[in-house]
Structure formats: C-alpha cells, structure tokens
Symmetry: C2
Subunit: 148 residues, 2 copies
DNA sequence: CAATGTGTTACCATAATGGTAACACTAAGG
DNA sequence: CCTTAGTGTTACCATTATGGTAACACATTG
C-alpha cells in the first residue's frame, strides 16, 4: 500500500493554497492533519526538495507554495514523496536462472508493472492541487479559509 | 510498495501455463521462484480463492490453472493477491473536522486515488498470463519447457 | 538577545512481509 | 491397508517501513 505520506502531502499543499501568500507553520498544519509537527516537516522536506514548496526560516516564518497550485499535479506530489521508487516489488531473491521462466520473468514483469505505474501517474498528472482545492470547496460550500 | 506477492503470483501462473495440463508441485515452483514451498502455497491459496487455480490433492497432485491463460489478466492476479485492498493509504488519524480542508480532504482524496487505482487496474487488465508467457518466450527464443 | 520557526537526527512501537517448520488431511498405488 | 507424496494452514521469527515523539542546531525577526 502506498504510504499515507501522499495523502498528507496533498493535504498540506491544499492548506498552503488556502494561505494565499502567508507562510503557514508546521504546527498549524499539524493541527489540521492531526499529527505531529515533525511529521509535517519531514514531508515538507521532501516537497521542498522536489521544488514544490519553499520555506521561510526564522520567527514569523513557515512554508509557501513554490509555484501556483494550478502548476502542481498530484503526479508531482506522488513522485516527490515516493522519491521515484518503483511501485511494484519484484522477487526478493533472484529467480532460478536455470528455469526458462525464472530466467526471463523479471524483464517481462518490469515492462508490465512499469506500464501500470505509468498509467497511474498519468491519471494523477491530470489533477492539480488547484483542482483538489476546488473539490474541497464544493464539498463544503460555506467554507472559511481558517480553522475555528 | 506493492508486495512481491504479485510478481511471484504472475511467475507461478506462468509456470503453470508451461505445465500444459500436468499439475506442478509447490516444491517445483519454489525451485524456480527461489523461495520456500510454503510461500508458494500461501500465494496459491489466494489464487485458488480467486478461482484462478485449482489444486489436486494427494500423491501425484499439484496445481493447475483453473481456466485458460488467455482468460487470466494481470488485473485478476493483482486483485487476487491484494485481496481488494485500497492502493493508497489515507491519513492514520482522522484530520481535524474543525478545519475546512481537514473536514473534506479525505472525500476528495478517495476520488482521486480511486481514479488512479482504476487506471492502474485497467492497464493490468489489458495483459494476460498468455501474453506474459509469450513475452517470456520471446525474451529467450530457444526456450525449453522444463528446468534443467 | 529572546522568541519563534525550520531542518534534521535519533529512537520507539507497530504493522506488514517473507522465510521456516510443523502438522492435519487427502489421494494414489503398491 | 499402508506408505508415499502432495496440499492447506497455522504459528513463529527476523527484517523492514512507517509514523509518532523528543531533542537540538540553526535562522530570522524585532
């Protein structure tokens, strides 16, 4: 199962979009995600490394989107938090090279699973953080931009 | 990451296709996969539950494909070994309902990740065990049907 | 210089995974 | 009828990934 980092990352980016230029702190975001600020910072570290967010250090600091929400797809987020790892595991131990199937199955599996992963990423690539924000709004029409 | 059960399951089903009507033992298949017979049987249990394979008990027994390899897609295999689990984890703890984003993000995420999973499964659905067998053969033209 | 943040590290508990052994049960074939 | 060769299932272990937590160095504001 793909770790909850993806879900939390999308959540964080959506929060940043509501910030509208004001940097948000990891403590504030942790309050919305319902977890520990360090967990948020750990994920922000991945997002920053991928160029999706930008931190402002020091007092009064926090994190901002590094580019418009319309220009951040869920594929970008997925690749950022999964660090380009392959989606499907292959065998733990190399299959038996003396067996014609064992000798060749991994090459075939790499193609099949690679195609599946590409299909998944293309689907994710069709949705942006701005789309997610719009859907969140339409779920809850009288939405305020801050926590109560 | 999706567990290696999927890779091993496809491997097993491909082996069964090479068997051409003769039941194969878990020990033989474990020799090709390079693991323990009980690991193979554990996965066979999932495949049998999904109606993809059929076991013949007792001495001289083993496992057969329950239907032609052309009628078993990688989507069938995926669903069999992942037991219909969702591909993307959501938050561990429920997000803060006092936050407009926290209150609605999971519904939005379920749609987005559901669509991604569907795209993945559709891609897997376009490839059968027979296709895999053919690709294995074409990787290794002078392929013999048994281990040396 | 104090206060408020980030970034990073280290450590822990938990869950999933695959490897292993064991054992009840089933069927074939002498 | 009994031996042999299988499956199906359980239990247990070691390893790994994960998320929660605390701690602390560093940066920035005022």
């Amino acid at each position: 199962m793909i770790s909850s980092r993806f879900a939390v990352a999308v959540h964080i980016l959506t929060l940043l979009e509501t910030g509208r230029g004001e940097p948000l702190t990891s403590e504030y975001m942790a309050g919305s995600v319902n977890t520990n600020p360090a967990v948020v910072r750990r994920i922000l570290s991945l997002l920053a490394r991928a160029g999706l967010t930008r931190a402002r250090m020091g007092a009064g600091g926090g994190t901002l989107l590094a580019r418009p929400a319309e220009a951040i797809t869920l594929k970008d987020v997925y690749r950022a938090v999964e660090c380009g790892e392959r989606l499907f595991a292959l065998h733990h131990e190399k299959p038996n090279p003396k067996c014609p199937v064992g000798r060749n199955i991994q090459a075939v599996l790499e193609r099949a699973t690679g195609a599946a992963q590409t299909a998944l990423e293309e689907q994710l690539g069709g949705r942006t953080v701005a789309d997610v924000m719009a859907e969140v709004r339409s779920e809850d029409p009288d939405l305020r931009s801050a926590m109560v």
